[in-house]
Amino acid sequence: MSRLAASTAILEEGRLLSQHQAALTLLQASLAIPGIVRLDWLDLACGKGQILAQLDTNLDPTARARISYVGYDLSDDYCRITASRVETLGLQKTRTLVGELQRFSQVLEENEQFDFVTLTNTVHEIEPGALAGILFDCISRLSPTGRLFAYDMEELPTAELGAVPWRRAEIDAIVAALLAGMDVKQYRPASGHWKHKKVSAWNLQVEKTHILAEAPGFATHRARSIAQATVKTHEILSQRLSDCTKTLDTLTRLGFATDAEKSQELSGLYEYWALQRALGKTT
């Protein structure tokens, strides 16, 4: 993935976003399991480490001392900020890695596995064609009892050129296709719909243990799984492009009558460009 030029990572010391709180709460529960001496956490697209903003107040020193943290981001600068932030938290081990998101699995050490993988506020920045592969790799890199926590907005408060935000139902459909390709037929990962003040969002939790229960050899179906999820992704995007084109065509012919339609005109243009680009129709 090339990070979209319009996207920026935030860092506000005193502010804990609700999605980050949710992730930390899950982390807290995992650290409370008796006998846990180490928990490996991979924070994908970690940005400037905003998720760590209140780690010290959420988790006591004993719990923090069990965490082995790996922050991964495209930006060297962001990784440096995260690294300096994380070193004061008293974690067992910390590391930051720089690289394209779709190559994260190649950048990690071979056979390295994680009990907790977070992917927050990022999915809209991922090239849709790479989304299935990234999700598959996230699952592959989970330990047998590991959990993936993903979160993103359904619409962006400020438009970003090329960004493709997904709705919860769409993510559910893509993940269902991914799992079907792994021969996982029963397990449906939990997902939720979030209503914030300005935007709505979704979250997804995938637990490796349920995948292994149904398809212990799922990793051998990587190509098939990614192909099926990519086909679904393409299908969703094509439908959205058709709807978006109709919206813009109608507004072009008949004009806008309300502020909402005026704003739809602009957001429609952003969406049209992002979808055309995602579907490879821009060259």
């Binding site: 109709k246 919206t247 012919r253 806008f256 009558a257 739809q264």
Partner: protein
């Protein structure tokens, strides 16, 4: 959402699981002695019955326990639905309780049970002050969103369609309506706004996406306000129809009855029809090609004074064609038209098929595309929408056209001829 307690013998766990499977997607909380009341002691069971809104009793086996739980429910004045499978009859003391008899618990039976629960739940809500009657336009304008939802739900219920209010769940719509007879489902968004407000294209698109995700037959937006011009036209462009209803025009609330619309290649008179519709203007003028047909088949002139979107028909008194009726549709006014007017024509033609059983096949050209300048795709979609909402299920509207670009239209027609 209702809290439903299932009373049953405990022997038929598969049946219990099936009932839970049917009821829970409708948002009902389902409790029963086997799966929810884990302790199984009588106090817990009675507490659950007392907490429930509706008691559903399956009479596969009339054990003492079942009769005791039923008696307790009866004493608490709980709404009870008795389900009898096979030949089991209820005890005489329960003869006045709603009894539903099925040979087996299949999909059809389950939908009827869901419908009965929804009806009882609605009665309960109505008793609690939720039932809404409107007596004046003023009161409609003051509707709160929830009241409007109930008002619309009542309309569906009166047609035998089960409704479920989303109760704060954000599924992209307010009401899920399910027709147990046709198995069709509709998603409904209710917008209680000031009369001068305008609903925009983004609302239509959101509902369309929700309808598609819910695998609904159609999406419906009901409002106390109006829609922008763009929103009205935008709603006509989808495979899954989006209907725009105004509370002040309840006579125009239609649900599809199953009429067929087809694209037919070629001339209006090439293939048999019971009625052939010709376009005219509100002033009674016609295009040169219509005039040629008038001369050829001795068709009377178009009347003047029809309003835009109005239709008139009359018996064909010519032996030259096999059609029984001719008709004129006022599709143009002062060299212009609208998708709304063409849809209205579709509705009116559909209404004719309800009044006249001898009219089953209607040939119609693409209307509004000539003098009106309307896009062919929009014309076809508008006719289709209109006819499908009002036409008899045995009726077929054949849109006759030589337009080659009609192939590009993804209209979800039931085939072309």
């Amino acid at each position: 959402m209702s809290n439903v307690f299932i009373v049953q013998s405990g022997r038929d766990l598969a049946l219990l699981e099936k009932l839970r499977e049917y009821l829970m997607p409708f948002g009902h909380e389902v409790n029963d002695i086997e799966t929810t009341v884990r302790t199984g002691d009588s106090i817990s069971v009675l507490a659950e019955i007392a907490r429930s809104d509706i008691v559903l009793a399956v009479l596969t086996n009339q054990s003492d326990n079942i009769l005791f739980e039923l008696g307790y429910s009866f004493g608490l004045n709980k709404p009870i639905i008795l389900i009898s499978l096979g030949s089991t009859s209820p005890p005489p003391v329960l003869r006045d309780v709603l009894l539903m008899q099925f040979s087996e618990l299949d999909d059809g039976a389950a939908f009827r049970i869901v419908a009965a629960i929804e009806t009882l739940a609605r009665s309960r809500r109505a008793r609690e002050g939720g039932h809404v009657e409107f007596t004046s336009t003023e009161s409609r304008q003051e509707l709160s969103g929830r009241n409007l939802e109930r008002y619309v739900a009542d309309w569906f219920e009166a047609k035998g369609i089960v409704t479920h209010l989303q109760e704060g769940r954000d599924a992209g719509f307010d009401i899920l309506a399910f027709d147990p007879k046709t198995k069709k489902r509709y998603v409904v968004e209710a917008k209680a706004l000031s009369k001068s407000a305008l609903i925009s294209v983004d609302v239509i698109r959101r509902l369309y996406e929700a309808a598609r995700e819910a695998d609904a037959q159609a999406g419906i937006i009901v409002t106390t306000a109006d829609f922008t011009k763009s929103a009205k036209e935008f709603a006509r462009q989808f495979k899954t129809p989006i209907y725009l209803w105004n509370v002040d025009q309840r006579e125009r609330w239609y649900l599809p009855k199953g009429a067929t619309v087809q694209i037919r290649r070629g001339d209006l008179f090439e293939q048999r029809a019971d009625l052939v519709m010709l376009p005219c203007s509100t002033a009674g003028t016609v295009s040169s090609w219509v005039q040629a047909y008038q001369d050829l088949y001795k068709i009377p002139s178009a009347p003047s004074g029809l309003s835009l979107g109005e239709v008139t028909i009359f018996p064909a008194e010519t032996q030259r064609v096999s059609t029984k009726y001719f008709g004129y549709a006022a599709s143009v006014e002062s060299h212009s038209t609208s998708a709304e007017a063409i849809e209205r024509i579709g509705v009116e033609i559909g209404e004719i098929t309800n009044r006249q059983p001898d009219i089953r096949i209607i040939n119609v050209p693409l209307l509004g595309g000539g003098a009106g300048g309307l896009d062919h795709k929009i014309s076809a979609m508008s006719l289709k929408r209109g006819f499908e909402t009002s036409g008899d299920q045995k009726a077929t509207l054949a849109i006759c056209t030589a337009e080659t670009n009609i192939d590009e239209i993804d209209l979800n027609f039931r085939g072309t001829l």
